[in-house]
Amino acid sequence: MTRLASVVRLELILQVRQRFLHAAIFSGLIWLAVLLPMSPTLRRAADPYILLGDTTIIGFFFIAGTVFFEKQERTLGAIISTPLRFSQYLMGKLAVLLVVSLSVAVVVSSIAHGAGNAADAAGGIHHVTTIRIDQ
């Protein structure tokens, strides 16, 4: 197994055992509770912003949690005394965070609009991001 794959596997196990995945699912449910009561027109307008917020919040929440556990367990010192480079470690963490937050976003979007509109919502995120970068 490559080192990156080892880190991804470790992160997934830790996310489950530290109940971060539970928190991610809970976060998705909250967004659904906000989106579903809205009228279809309002929902379509609010959806990209909510999904962008969801992916961002999950990302920040998970990073804060990971840093907290790493500080408490002092594991970073052990990690950087092995052949694994810090960049590989960071990449593994980011890959897991990205997959988890995007998965929640796709599921929330699919439930709110039906599976066919998930891609439109994802396009909406891209649209909003582009506008913000342009500004």
Partner: protein
């Protein structure tokens, strides 16, 4: 100082070579390391002793490649640790002073993860856990381990890649006598296989028992460096103390100069006429030597 100039006693190949090493932390009022010189040979157990804040851990971090920006020279196998890149960590093992494990993983899961980070073969993980007395707890989450168990797991983890050079920071701290003995025997086994050990400790008894040479570190410098035996003999009282039973059965003691012992009539009479309980030479302990040299006690 002659003893400071001495090089490694075991093996002619220097594994670690430190010359004029200095290091200052940002915003610190004084340097943490102020001009250290020492060499560690292959197959040697080198003890680094000193009180907290003396610069031991800083020196060890520089040698492990965790700190940048030092002055002077610190080379391992002829190259600066940071210049080796990740290859360096294939060849070394590090055991930290405090346990640092993933608490939500079991003992064996922790070792499996770290083993997966090394290229090539690693030691058998269950055998390793068995060697440190944790085989029965391999499937238990580390969060449920005692501090002593976590320390043994830290030590076992440092051996995963069968390292040529091992950095150990207080490896027997928090261990009961049986497990401390187990860890010490493993360190001696490593030495028998020509592994080099850089041992940082407060524990004079452990250093005395394990180390070929010890360096006393105070205020960022090495104030003495020699074999434990030479350090102790140089500061020994050349006296023999005899404890014996008096005529009334009470315990009494007498001291005799060691150099004239063979012709000392008082000593001979005591051996002949009294019931001797103990005979001891006035050999200094490593702790006594440290206090005498540095004026400080290790805490």
């Amino acid at each position: 100082m002659e003893s400071l100039a001495r090089t490694a006693t075991n093996g002619s190949t220097g594994v670690i070579r430190v010359r004029g090493l200095t290091f200052s932390y940002p915003k610190a009022s004084r340097p943490a390391v102020r001009g250290m010189d020492f060499t560690v040979g292959r197959g040697e157990i080198f003890g680094f002793l000193g009180p907290s804040g003396a610069g031991k851990s800083t020196t060890q971090k520089i040698l492990i490649g965790l700190l940048r920006g030092h002055g002077g020279q610190a080379a391992v196998w002829g190259k600066a640790p940071l210049a080796w890149g990740s290859d360096y960590y294939q060849r070394i093992g590090v055991s930290f002073e405090l346990p640092n494990h993933y608490q939500k993983l079991t003992g064996i899961e922790n070792l499996r993860f770290f083993a997966s980070l090394y290229e090539g073969a690693t030691l058998n993980l269950m055998s390793l856990l068995d060697a440190v007395g944790l085989a029965d707890e391999a499937g238990t989450r580390v969060g449920k381990y005692s501090k002593g168990m976590q320390m043994r797991l830290t030590f076992a983890r440092a051996l995963i890649n069968d390292p040529e050079l091992l950095f150990l920071d207080e490896p027997t701290s928090g261990l009961d006598p049986v497990n401390a003995r187990r860890v010490k025997n493993m360190i001696l086994d490593l030495q028998a296989r020509e592994r080099t050990v850089f041992l940082t400790t407060h524990d004079m008894a452990t250093a005395d028992e394990l180390c070929d040479r010890v360096a006393f570190v105070v205020d960022g410098t090495i104030v003495a460096l020699d074999t434990p035996a030479e350090l102790k003999i140089a500061r020994s009282k050349r006296l023999v103390r005899v404890e014996y039973r008096s005529e009334r059965g009470g315990l009494k003691a007498a001291e005799f100069p060691m150099d004239s012992l063979a012709d000392d009539p008082g000593f001979h009479a005591l051996l002949r006429d009294r019931h001797v309980e103990t005979i001891h030479s006035g050999e200094a302990s490593l702790d006594d030597v440290f206090v005498e040299i540095t004026g400080r006690r290790l805490t």
